[in-house]
Symmetry: D2
Subunit: 347 residues, 4 copies
C-alpha cells in the first residue's frame, strides 16, 4: 500500500465537484486536502452536498491553493485555461474535467469553441478515456477527462473500428438522451422542476461540441443530436450505424468481447430475457460502469448500438478518478467499486 | 346543429378506451350509448377512469352490442378482426384503433403480423391520418386509425415528400421516445413503477411494426428504433434525414407551411427563444395537436426533424374521433379543442 | 347569451397568469383584452406558454392598463396592494390571486405578513371560495381568491363544522403535500429539476401563512405542515381530526353529502374498489374539481379526511374564474368544464 | 480479520432479496453461498437484478437449503413461519425481514394479522432496530428486522421518550410517505408506471400494521397514516407530537444528541441553510443512514419531528445486515459504509 495521496477539488460546490469529493472521501488512497468554492467559502461540504454531512471539511478560496499530489478541476468550460499555471504550481498531476484541454490543436478548438488562452497546452495534455487510451496516462501531468456524451458514444463505437467493422467513412447517427445533472447546479428557467419534468426536449439538435471529441478519437464524422429526458443522472447513446458490408451478430459479439472482456468497468447487455435486456442508464446509475449492447437490423443494413453511462461518473468524476488511478499507478478500480442499485428510479 | 349521434366504445376499460369515453363525453355531437368491458361489466366507468366519476354509465358485456351510429373498437391487436362482422352489424361506421386493418394487403400483413382472419377487409378499410388523407374518409364504413409512432413519423416527414425534398430512396433514421401509456393498462413486471421510472430503455431496437405503416404511406423504408422514457403520455419522433441535394432552412419552412398552415391541429416549433423551442410531448399533452420542427445540419448534410404528439390523443383516441368527425361530416375539431397545459409534468 | 366580457391578466407570464390566460381563451363569455408582463413585453403569449401558441396576443406593459370588465391580478404577494387603485380604475371587478386581500383585518395581516400598504381594503374585499361563500360574490368589486393549501383544507373540513361534528376547539393536524408549480415560474436552486425531483421535503414545517386563512374561515386553529413532493400540479391535504365524541361513517357521509351533493365542482372518493379509492391530485389534475374523502379510525378516536385539488386550478386560476363567474352572474361552470385525464402522470 | 462467513438469501429475486445480495456481495465478511428463487431457479442473479450482472451465482430451489452461517429470509409475510424449522436447521443465525416474528406475543399477532403457525417463536425471536436495542442481538438465533415505516417512526420518537419529553399518553399523529419499492417486485395494476407516477395516494389511511410494532416499542398509541408518493426508495415519517408541557428547541437538540451523537448511521438535519434543511429520503437514498430533524411550533403546542430512511436499506436489507453484524460480533458498519449521492433523483 502506498502512502495516502493528497487531493484538491477546485469547483467543489458544483455537481461534478461534489461527486469528486464523494469519490475521494471513499477512496482508499486519496485524502481530501482542499475543496474550493467562491460562493460557499467557509461553509461545510455538507451544506451543499447532503451526502457529505459527515465531513468536517469546509470550502476554501480558490485563489489560495494548497500544494497537493493531484488537483481535480471541476470548473465551467473556459475557467481552467485561465488558471492552469496556478493548478500546475499546486499539483504534479492535474485532472481537468472541462472541455478546455480535450482537443489536440488550436485549429480544432477554434472550430468548436471561442479562442483558447493557452493553446500550447492542447497538444501537451492527455485526453482520458482509459478503456481506449490508458497507456498514455501514467506520468501525465495534465489530463483532460473525456466528455460524457463523447464517452458514451466512443465506448459504443470504438470496438467496431478495432474489429474492422467500421473504417471511418460510414454513415453514423448518434441520438443521445441525457439527464438534468448535465446542466450543472446553476439552475435556469428551462431546468426548473416544473419545466424540466417529463420532457423529451431536443436541446442540441445539431453541432454539439462533443462531435469534435468523437471525430478526434474515431476519425469519424457523426450526425449527433442530444435530447433532454426525465432523469437526473445518465447518458444513453443510440448509434445507428450503416456499415458498408454485411455484419452478423457473431461479428458484433466478437468485436465487443475482444475489446471489453478484460475491462473492469464495461458490461455487455444485449438481448436475453428479463426487464433489463439492453444498456440503460438506470442500471449503471451511481457506478463507473459503461454498458454496451446492440442489435443487427438486416432489413435496413443497419447496426443499432446502445451505450449507457452515468454522466456524473463514467462521464465525468468517475472517469477523472479512474484516470488519476492509472496516471498514479494505483489499482484502476480503487474507489470506484460500487456496482449499482436495483430497483432504482430516475437517479 | 345535427341530432346527437350515438357512439359505442368496445374495450372501454383500457387506456385508449377511457380516452375515447372522455372525448365522447365532452363532444358536442356524440352521446355515449355503450361502453363494453368483460372484466368490469356492471361497474361504473368511474371505477376504472377516475375522471369519469360524474357519469352514471356502466360497462356492459361486449357480446351484447347495441345498435349505434358509430362504434369505436379499442381492443388489443387481433381482437377486432375476430368481431368485425358484429361491429359492422351494430354500426354503420366502425373506427378501429388497433393495427388489424391498417395495412392494405394480406401480403403486407403477413410480413409483420401473424395470419389475418379476414384479409378481405384490409383493402376495404380506410387508414386514417386525416392531415394526410382526409379525402378518403367521408362515408367510409371501416376506418383504421393510424398508429401512434407511425403518426408522429409521417407527420414529420410527409411535407418533405410533398415539397420534393425527399423522394423515397433517402437514408432516414427515426429514433422514437414513448411514454408508458403505450403499453396499455395491463401491467407486467417491466412496466411497474419501480422498474419503469427513470428509464431510457430500448424496447423495440429494430423491426417495429409501425415501419410497415410508414412504408405504406411514404414509400420510404425507415430505420426505426423505439425507446421507452419516463413519461406517461407522449411520443416524440426524431427523424435524421439525409437528402440527396442541399436543402435550406427556407426550403424546410416552405415545405411545412405549405402542408400545415391550414391544419387545425398542427403547430410549428422550430428554434426561436424561450424554453419550448422545438416540439415536445409535454407541450401537446392532452391535446390532439401535432408539433413539428426541424434543424438543418449542413456539416453532416442532414436534416433533423422533430415531431411530437400525445400518443393517447393524436396517436389513438383523438385521431379516431378526428377521423369520425370527418367521416360523418362534422366539424373537424369538434370535441378536440383542448390546447394543453402549462406548466405540465410527465402526463 | 351575454355580450362578451373583456378581461385582463396582470402578471401574465407566471404560472398562474398563464393558467388564467388558458382559461379565459377557452371561456365562452370572456375575451382576453390584455396580458401584462414587464419581462416579456411585446413577446407573444406562446413564447412563454407553449399551449397558447395559437394566439396572436402579445404581452404589454403593466403600467399601461386598458379599461376592461374584469381584471385578474396574478402577481407575487405584495404587488397588488401597490397597484390596487390602478387596477380598480381599469376594471369594475378586480380578482386578486395573491394573499394581499385575503385576510379581514390589518391586525390579522400583520400577524402573518409585513405591513399592508392599504389596509382599508382588507375589510372591503371579498374572500372567494365559492363552495363556502358564493353568496358574497355577486357585485363584489374586489375579490381575493382563496389560497391553494387553505382551499384544500377548508374544503375538507367545512362540512364537518356545518354538520356539528366539529366545533372549533378540536385538535386538528393538517399535513399537506404540494407540487412544484406552487413555487412559481422563478426558479431557484432548490427548485431545479436535479434538486427537486423525487423529494419528500418539509418546506413549511410550521407557521405556514395559510393557517391564517383557515382560522379566519373555520374559527379553528390547525397544526399545519407542508411537504414538497414530486409532482408539478396538485395539493393534497390530509386532515387528522380528533372529535370530542364518537363519529360514524354514516355521520361523515351525511356531512359531505349535505354540503357537496349539489356542488358542480366537488367529488366524493372514499373507499370502494379500484386504484383510485381516495382523493388524489392526479385524479383532478387540470380540472377545477375538488375531491374529498375520509376514513374513521375508531381505535385512535380519529377522523382522517383527504382533500385533493389542482393548485393551479381550484387552488388559484380556476378558483378565480369561478369567482368571477359568480360575481358577474355567469354560469358557474363556464370555462371550467374539463373533467381530467386518465391515465395521467405527475402533471 | 475473521474468516469469511457464508450467507444465504431465501427469496432472492424480490426487491429486498436483491438488496441483501448487493450488500452481501460488497460485504468484507460475508460470502453469498446461496440465493433461492422458485420462479427464477437456475437463472443468474443478474437476470433479475442488473446491478449483479458481474456475479456467476444462480438462483436455486428454496426447498434445498445449504448449511450456512447466516440465513436471511426475504419472503412475503406468512412464508417464514412455514419454514422456520428448515431455516434454523440450515443456519445458526436466521434474520427474517418479514413481519412474522416482529411481535412479542400471539395475542398481539392475532390483533393485527391472521393466525400464527408457530407462535412459540414470537417470544423467542429478537426484534432488531440496532440503534434502540443492539444489546439484545449478540448470539441471537432468530432476529426479526424492524419494518420500514415503524423504523422511521421509532427513530424519530424514541429519543423524546429517553429524554422524558414524551411519556406515552400524548397525542401523536404520524403521517408517512413511501416509495413504490415498498410494494415489492410483484406488480399489480395500482403499481403500474402509468397509474403510480405522480401520486399522492392514501394507501393505508388507518390501521396500518406497523402501528403494532411502534406501540410494542414505544408503549405509545400513534395515529398512523401512510401515503404513496412518487419515489422508488424511501420512507419519510412526519410525527406531529403534542407534549403535555412546554418543550424548547434546546430540549429537542439535547434529546437527539444524547441518543444519536455516537450512532454511526444517524444524522441530524434540522434547519440551517441550503436546499436540504430537514431529513429527506433523497439525502439517504441507497444508504443505511437515518436522518432526523424537528421544528417546535409553540403556537400549536406541537413538535414536528421529521425522519427519513431508505426503506430498502435502513428499513429492511440494510437493517438486517446491520443486525447480523451486531449479532455475529462484526464491525457494525461493515458493508454499509455508502454515504449517498448528490444530486440524486427519485431513487
Amino acid at each position: 500500500m502506498t502512502d495516502t495521496l493528497s487531493a484538491a477539488v477546485v469547483g467543489g460546490s458544483g455537481f461534478t465537484g461534489g461527486e469528486l469529493l464523494r469519490l475521494l472521501d471513499g477512496h482508499p488512497e486519496f485524502e481530501i486536502a482542499q475543496a474550493t468554492s467562491r460562493e460557499y467559502e467557509k461553509k461545510t461540504l455538507g451544506s451543499v452536498h447532503p451526502n457529505l454531512r459527515h465531513l468536517d471539511t469546509r470550502f476554501s478560496d480558490p485563489t489560495d491553493l494548497e500544494s497537493v499530489d493531484v488537483l481535480f478541476a471541476a470548473t465551467p468550460h473556459g475557467v481552467s485555461m485561465q488558471h492552469i499555471d496556478a493548478f500546475q504550481d499546486a499539483a504534479d498531476t492535474v485532472v481537468d474535467l472541462s472541455a478546455d484541454f480535450r482537443l489536440d490543436s488550436e485549429e480544432q478548438y477554434d472550430e468548436w469553441y471561442d479562442g483558447h488562452s493557452c493553446p500550447e497546452y492542447l497538444e501537451k495534455s492527455e485526453y482520458a478515456l482509459p478503456e481506449i487510451n490508458r497507456e498514455n496516462l501514467p506520468g501525465a501531468d495534465l489530463i483532460a477527462a473525456g466528455g460524457c456524451n463523447a464517452t458514451a458514444t466512443v465506448l459504443g463505437l470504438k470496438p467496431l473500428f478495432d474489429a474492422g467493422i467500421l473504417e471511418g467513412d460510414e454513415q453514423v447517427v448518434v441520438d443521445v438522451k441525457v439527464g438534468s445533472s448535465e446542466g450543472g447546479a446553476s439552475a435556469g428557467k428551462a431546468s426548473s422542476h416544473a419545466e424540466r419534468s417529463g420532457v423529451v426536449r431536443p436541446y442540441a439538435p445539431t453541432g454539439h461540441r462533443h462531435e469534435a471529441e468523437i471525430e478526434q478519437f474515431l476519425g469519424l464524422s457523426v450526425s449527433f443530436t442530444v435530447h433532454a429526458v426525465d432523469m437526473i443522472r445518465g447518458a444513453s447513446a443510440t448509434c445507428h450505424v450503416f456499415p458498408t458490408g454485411p455484419v452478423s451478430k457473431g461479428d458484433m459479439w466478437g468485436a465487443y468481447r475482444e475489446s471489453y472482456d478484460d475491462e473492469p468497468f464495461m458490461r455487455m447487455a444485449s438481448g436475453g430475457g428479463g426487464v433489463y435486456r439492453y444498456p440503460e442508464p438506470k442500471a449503471v446509475a451511481g457506478t463507473n460502469f459503461g454498458e454496451v449492447g446492440f442489435e443487427v437490423d438486416p432489413s435496413n443494413k443497419r447496426l443499432v448500438v446502445f451505450s449507457a453511462i452515468d454522466n456524473m461518473m463514467k462521464g465525468s468524476a468517475g472517469q477523472a478518478v479512474h484516470a488519476a488511478n492509472v496516471a498514479l499507478g494505483l489499482e484502476e478500480t480503487a474507489g470506484l467499486e460500487f456496482t449499482g442499485f436495483h430497483p432504482v428510479g430516475a437517479p
